[in-house]
């Protein structure tokens, strides 16, 4: 930020919005880089700046790194190499000593808040304590999406105008004193005028506003997010960060007047030394460097092992003559182990992975739904609408959420009747948990037996500017693009599954984070089904034939949904299968079922409540119970431990045990020698996989300031956020229960292609290149012909020779899984 002698309101608000948390309301929870505001900087510079400016803890603690080193999780040879890389080989000893044994003061002394701290120090006034509770309550009531029974009476006008309207027509007031009231009612004042009253010195205005808004960055961030995407609220509300600031300044004037009377000296006149400007340079200290070296050494200790594994575990593909089926999952790291088990159970099948919206972007409207849900990555704005018709089931209700229970007289009756039913329900929920209406179930997103309007007919009218369904040509384009991107263009099996994923959980306000990120935090069932319909469409197949993709007539595509919490798969439109296909499908279903049991078993090693030595199907039953247990804050562990993203053919990792830590995106370089398809594959990897990885990273290293803290005391605010208690700030980020298993290691993307092509690819889009050149994600390439590894650093690829020379080979991981709950190293399975 430039220093302005003049106060530029627009500019400051723009800057504020840039730095505030960008998390959308809970229902649209999408992972993103928590420190997105610093992405223009190199990773380590960004951490240093963020830490000094805002007081975030941005890495593990020194003692954690040292413990990792002593327990050999950070390897000494790697440490030496990292130090050599940054400091030259002559300083290895010197720096190693500093890292391992020198004592440092690791306290943070942030710049944020220093100016406003003077209210307490000089004025002896706890302004935040006086202003924040009422401010939060007014904000929450104004934005509320359906908790309150009596809604904010005025809301159409925008935030400030609504408050003004109420203030004008009320016997009571938002304020305690006259001046603030008058300032609100007369609208001629600007933020600058209010700051003049409170702060006095123009050069401090910007810093004051940063201090103020970052004293409750959760609420400010939410207001800013809603301002930018008002459609994220079903009950839309007009509000802007500017209005929030204006009102907060009024409340501050009110409290100051209330305490000191109408005349008091503005803040700038009573502070002796101006605090350091927030955006002044932050030089790198020795401690910063120590942290940087530790982090790199920590990361490379793992990367090196993985790269060694890829180099050694690579075996040429054996062609399968008579394929039983092919299946495509989402790139999600939670699907990798399931793919392993499916392949293991049926050596004749093939598995693929692609972003879980299957290349079909649209809005979905369930039958009787009053609005649309977006079913594609968040940055995409679809032009299509898919509607559901002919549903069979009905939604069940739970009276415990009914507003009548909060009424006085109805409450009187309800407590004495329903109250005793509640005790019984609680009893059942504890001793025999079952699916209830309170559960957020992935399978209820779309009715299994409903129909979808997928094909667009010319006669169909547009709805709200959206085309209902796709034309044949539009379908063909999408099917072609997807099949080519995953490298499935010939040798189709009789059944080709596309399986989206979703999650079921209860008592989980963050449920959307557990669903498919590529489907905007929703289950991917509709996309899988839409895609399969398209690929089955005869005219589409005709067009595909002309473009070099011939799908045999007896090949059927089948959509499905994998519930990652419950490890269940539901298939759609099974009734449309031919008798022969249906028979094959029945066989395949058994393969899936077995694989799901085994997958549940593998997952169970992280859950203390389940004995992983039990038989797989028994464990699976326990996993099912777990997903509907009210008292289980970890229905599943979502993306915890993710660190890798592999783009390439299956054979480069087929032999490797990667412990569910890798996103995988199927891609065949042979179909795409120039890397044209690769651009589209790699473009979203930064924001999606990198975003997930970094959100876990930062929520893990500072769960208090960058994460949401423990979820156990969370209180749902207005259906869009969670806070601690009744008066707390909103808590964006991930709760501790989601990140406790996570190792804060940046994502390493490994692409199977020639380095020059990959370099061209990432350079082709500036926004994509920023992720790599600034090292928010790391990038390595495996040359498909020479099998040599290259690592991207400072704008070029350099040859990488793994330091690890042997990777343990085992025949079966089961016994390891049964006895370990920690992260496991890489194994080659033979």
């Amino acid at each position: 930020m430039k220093t302005h002698s003049e106060f530029d309101e627009q500019h400051i608000i723009h800057e504020l919005k840039h730095y505030l948390p960008a998390q959308a309301p809970l229902k649209d929870f999408i992972h993103h880089n928590t420190l997105h505001a610093f992405q223009k900087l190199k990773f380590h510079d960004a951490l240093r700046n963020a830490s000094k400016m805002f007081g975030y803890k941005v890495s593990l603690s020194l003692s954690e790194y040292r413990n990792l080193y002593h327990s050999k999780k950070i390897r000494e040879e790697i440490l030496d190499k990292v130090i050599t890389g940054f400091k030259g080989s002559s300083s290895v000893q010197e720096w190693k000593e500093k890292m391992v044994s020198k004592s440092f003061n690791t306290s943070t002394d942030p710049r944020i808040g220093a100016l406003r701290a003077n209210w307490k120090i000089v004025y002896r006034l706890d302004l935040d304590l006086l202003v924040q509770p009422i401010l939060f309550r007014i904000l929450c009531s104004y934005l509320d999406q359906g908790i309150s029974i009596w809604n904010f009476p005025v809301h159409e006008l925008g935030f400030l105008a609504s408050l003004k309207e109420m203030e004008r027509n009320s016997f009571t007031s938002f304020f305690k004193t006259k001046r603030a009231k008058n300032l609100l009612l007369k609208s001629e004042y600007k933020i600058e005028d209010l700051l003049n009253i409170i702060v006095g010195d123009k050069s401090l205005y910007a810093q004051y506003l940063f201090d103020q808004q970052f004293s409750h960055q959760g609420w400010s961030g939410m207001v800013s997010a809603i301002e930018d995407q008002p459609e994220t609220l079903l009950d839309s509300k007009k509000i802007s960060l500017k209005e929030l600031i204006y009102f907060e300044l009024l409340l501050e004037i009110d409290e100051l007047d209330n305490k000191f009377g109408p005349i008091w000296a503005p803040l700038s006149t009573r502070i002796e030394n101006k605090p350091d400007p927030l955006f002044a340079d932050i030089p790198e200290t020795e401690l910063n460097e120590v942290f940087k070296l530790w982090q790199e050494a920590y990361e490379w200790s793992y990367y090196d092992e993985v790269l060694a594994g890829i180099k050694m575990g690579h075996t040429p593909k054996t062609e399968i003559a008579d394929k039983s089926f092919q299946v495509t999952f989402c790139i999600d790291d939670r699907e990798t182990s399931l793919r392993d088990y499916i392949e293991k159970n049926d050596p004749k099948c093939e598995t693929y992975a692609t972003p879980g919206f299957f290349g079909v972007e649209f809005y979905f409207q369930p039958e009787f739904g009053k609005s649309y849900t977006k079913q594609c990555p968040a940055p995409v704005t679809p032009k299509f609408l898919i509607k559901e018709v002919g549903i069979t089931g009905s939604r069940k209700k739970d009276v415990h959420f009914a507003k009548q229970t909060h009424g006085l007289f109805r409450g009187w009756i309800i407590t004495q009747t329903l109250g005793f039913w509640s005790a019984f329900r609680l009893f059942l929920n504890i001793f025999k948990p079952t699916m209830t209406p309170a559960t957020a179930s992935s399978f209820s997103h779309m009715d299994k037996l409903s129909q979808l309007t997928i094909e667009h007919k010319d006669s169909d009218v547009n709805e709200n500017g959206l085309q209902v369904g796709y034309t044949v040509n539009e379908m063909a384009n999408r099917v072609e693009a997807l099949l080519k991107s995953i490298g499935l263009v010939k040798d189709f099996a009789p059944l080709v599954y596309s399986i989206g994923h979703g999650s079921s959980s209860v008592n989980n306000p963050h449920y959307a984070a557990y669903n498919c990120g590529a489907c905007c935090g929703r289950p991917g069932s509709v996309n899988a089904r839409v895609f399969s319909f398209m690929a089955n469409h005869l005219q589409v197949r005709e067009i595909l034939k002309t473009r070099g993709v011939t799908i045999p007539a007896n090949t059927r595509f089948v959509g499905g949904l994998h519930d990652t919490t419950r490890d269940e798969i539901v298939f759609y439109d099974e009734n449309l299968l031919s008798a022969e296909n249906a028979q094959q499908h029945a066989k395949n279903s058994i393969v899936f079922k077995k694989a799901l049991d085994l997958n549940a078993k593998e997952r169970s090693r992280r859950f203390v409540s389940i004995d992983s030595k039990l038989r797989a199907d028994k464990i699976h039953k326990k996993i099912l119970t777990r997903s509907v247990s009210l008292f289980e804050p970890r229905p599943e562990l979502n993306h915890a431990t993710n660190t890798l993203c592999i783009v390439g053919r299956r054979e480069i990792t087929k032999q490797l045990f990667l412990d569910r830590r890798a996103f995988t995106n199927s891609y065949d370089y042979r179909i795409d020698p120039e890397g044209k398809i690769l651009v589209n594959i790699m473009k979203p990897l930064g924001p999606v996989c990198g975003g997930i990885n970094l959100e876990y990273f930062f929520s893990r290293v500072d769960n208090q300031k960058l994460g949401a803290g423990t979820k156990l005391p969370h209180n749902v605010m207005g259906l869009f956020g969670v806070a601690n208690g009744a008066d707390g700030d909103l808590r964006p980020g991930l709760p501790s229960q989601m990140i406790e298993m996570h190792d804060p290691v940046r994502l390493l993307i490994i692409v199977e292609h020639f380095p020059a092509i990959v370099l061209n690819t990432i350079k082709s889009v500036d926004a994509m290149y920023e992720w790599f050149i600034n090292e928010w994600v790391k990038l390595a390439v495996i040359n498909p012909e020479t099998k040599e590894l290259h690592v991207f650093k400072d704008g070029e690829f350099t040859l990488y020779q793994p330091l690890k020379t042997s990777i343990e080979t085992i025949s079966d991981v089961t016994s390891l899984l049964e006895t370990n709950s920690d992260n496991l190293p890489v194994y080659i399975i033979k």
């Binding site: 359906g146 005025v154 109420m166 009053k370 909060h406 008592n507 749902v716 208690g725 009744a726 229960q737």
Partner: protein, 624 residues
């Protein structure tokens, strides 16, 4: 087995469970929580078996006098237990919910820091709850009451490294403290009324109660009012209601069981227990009814505008309790008991499923979205609608009411005493105290007109000391010392009153001296080790000094007259020596007791709780 043995079993199962749980290994979660489940489960089973037996034997009201803790002429402090349908219902709801929530918390709190602390506190709470509902006289009840108060503080401040939980725990504790004084004064007055400590059962003796009250109708009203204040504070009735949503800072199951159900209904319990006392005083019954009615209306309005799920449940629960107050005032005991149970179950469950509200309501809304549901308030004239909405949003200014009329005057008075420093305290008040003592020994020579005012005068000095202690911002040790001195002034004041043996004063001061000296030593230790050490902020030193923090907490409890030292009995003894016409003295001393508790917990919270002053580890925002 005799009834006595059985009652002992009811009391000792949770007590021993609690004590044993303190010594279980910290890192064995399964064992720790399993033990808690077994303790509460065993209690539940014993109770259920007994309940059936009791019901089949015409559910008699049982009472028996247990241990006499202290005896002097005209005074007897004894533990008394009673069991009737009120106890049965409260125990049924309490043990069932505690059992279910204990099981619930086993998995829910997995890996949480303070896993052991949680189950320890839960068991202590359960013990306090059992004592309270089994109590046969006010003294026994008060013991349980004190335990519940401190458990509430500990559970609200469970996340002791954040600012809001600690702040709100203090807030709730202060309200509870007001309630405690209601009981103390009620005990004092009833002691004078009947010249002995009577049991609740004796209250049913119409002759005993009625005759006395007819002669002392004002005293009767005052006693009832004191009890009502206590009940209103505990049950979040006006003007105290705003603490209830703020108590929801702990893990959801603890909020559910304490503030959703058990703790918050104890005010009702107190009213039911003392029903016979005010049964014939129509004015009192009207006041209770009106209080219940106004609470239920106001809190319903507040509940209607709440946009966070837990505070909505809290206020609607308070509204139902308002209705229960009306039922109690009308004498509808059975309806009140059923209503209590239903409300407790419903709110507990609603709180436990409250995190599901997002997915559930968003889904509902997705299918049934109507832009604006019109409510009955829409039919009001606009100005009225906006005014009531705004008032309800500001919680009818209940919070600012409390701070304006209760806390601020105390702080302002305390700040007027800024001339008190370590130096003045030692060089002025110690000699002054010695002069006071000298007067005591030469009491015979002091003219009556002076003698008469001396107790109140000394008590006032004591009160000023705690006021200063409460408002002190810098010097922690001074604040601590002033509290100890207050107790000495109180002892001096009462000693003037009559010739009672020094044994009783020693009983009172023994706990004070031990806790005081030890506490001083502990604070001094922290002072030497830490730079950040005053009363202006929360410093969270329990992060580095958890053991010191625990020991200091025990000292605080000792000094507040918590039932772990003889001071607890001493306090009651002291009160029994305040004559019934000495309202001023009683007022000063009871105010001292309130503020002294507040000042103590404030010292503990500021020094040991809140976001840690050192930032080498993750520290939460102040706004969280």
């Amino acid at each position: 087995m005799t009834t006595e043995h059985l009652f002992h079993l009811f009391i000792f199962v949770p007590l021993f469970g609690y004590i044993i749980s303190l010594f279980l290994p910290r890192n064995n979660e399964r064992f720790l929580s399993g033990f808690a489940v077994v303790t509460v489960g065993a209690h539940l089973v014993i109770f259920l078996v007994y309940l059936v037996y009791w019901l089949f034997n015409n559910h008699p009201t049982l009472n028996f006098k247990d241990l006499v803790l202290f005896k002097a002429t005209g005074y007897e402090f004894y533990i008394d237990f009673c069991f009737d349908k009120i106890t049965a219902m409260y125990l049924f709801v309490g043990s069932l919910l505690t059992f279910l929530v204990t099981i619930y918390s086993r998995a829910y709190l997995h890996r949480e820091q303070g896993y052991k602390r949680f189950f320890n506190t839960l068991l202590l709470f359960y013990f306090g709850y059992t004592i309270t509902i089994f109590a046969g006289n006010l003294e026994t009840l008060f013991m349980g009451w004190e335990i519940l108060g401190i458990c509430s503080f500990l559970l609200i401040a469970f996340y002791r490294d954040r600012y809001l939980p600690v702040k709100n725990a203090l807030k709730v504790f202060t309200i509870y403290r007001i309630g405690d004084v209601g009981i103390i004064l009620a005990m004092w007055l009833s002691h004078h009324l009947w010249h002995s400590n009577i049991t609740f059962l004796q209250l049913r003796n119409d002759e005993l109660v009625h005759v006395q009250l007819e002669n002392h109708s004002l005293v009767g009203v005052v006693i009832a009012m004191m009890i009502l204040v206590t009940a209103a504070a505990k049950s979040a009735q006006l003007p105290f209601s705003s603490w209830l949503p703020r108590a929801m800072e702990g893990p959801t199951p603890s909020s559910a069981i304490f503030y959703g159900s058990l703790s918050v209904h104890l005010g009702v319990f107190l009213l039911l227990r003392t029903y016979e006392l005010w049964e014939h005083q129509v004015s009192v019954r009207i006041i209770i009814g009106v209080l219940g009615l106004s609470t239920s209306i106001v809190t319903t309005l507040i509940a209607r505008v709440q946009s966070s799920v837990k505070s909505q449940i809290a206020y609607s629960s308070a509204a139902q309790i308002g209705l229960i107050f009306i039922e109690v005032a009308l004498g509808l005991e059975k309806i009140a008991l059923v209503h209590f149970a239903g409300n407790a179950f419903l709110r507990t469950y609603q709180l436990l499923v409250s995190p599901s509200v997002v997915s559930y309501l968003i889904r509902e809304q997705f299918y049934n979205y109507t832009p604006r549901v019109s409510t009955f308030e829409d039919s009001f004239p606009k100005k009225m609608e906006y005014s009531i909405y705004l008032l309800s949003l500001k919680e009818w200014n209940l919070d600012s009411f409390m701070s304006r009329f209760v806390w601020n005057p105390m702080k302002v008075t305390g700040r007027k005493l800024n001339f008190l420093t370590h130096r003045t305290v030692f060089f002025f008040f110690v000699p002054a105290y010695l002069i006071g003592l000298a007067c005591l020994y030469t009491k015979a020579h002091i003219p009556d007109e002076i003698h008469e005012y001396l107790p109140a005068f000394f008590a006032l000095i004591g009160l000023l000391m705690v006021l200063k202690s409460f408002s002190e911002r810098k010097d922690v040790l001074l604040s601590w010392t002033l509290i100890i001195m207050n107790h000495f002034w109180v002892a001096l004041a009462v000693s003037f009153n009559e010739n009672f043996t020094f044994g009783q004063v020693h009983l009172y001061l023994s706990g004070i001296v031990v806790a005081g000296v030890l506490g001083y030593f502990l604070l001094n230790k922290i002072k030497k080790a830490e730079k950040a050490f005053d009363l202006n902020n929360f410093y969270g030193h329990s992060y580095e000094h958890p053991r010191v923090a625990l020991a200091f907490l025990l000292c605080c409890l000792g000094l507040t007259g918590f039932p772990i030292t003889p001071t607890f009995i001493g306090e009651d003894v002291i009160f029994s020596h305040i004559h019934e016409d000495q309202y001023v003295l009683a007022l000063f001393i009871s105010l001292s007791f309130i503020i002294d508790g507040l000042a103590l917990v404030r010292i503990y919270a500021r020094v040991f709780l809140g976001p840690h002053a050192k930032t080498y580890h993750e520290v939460a925002y102040r706004s969280s």
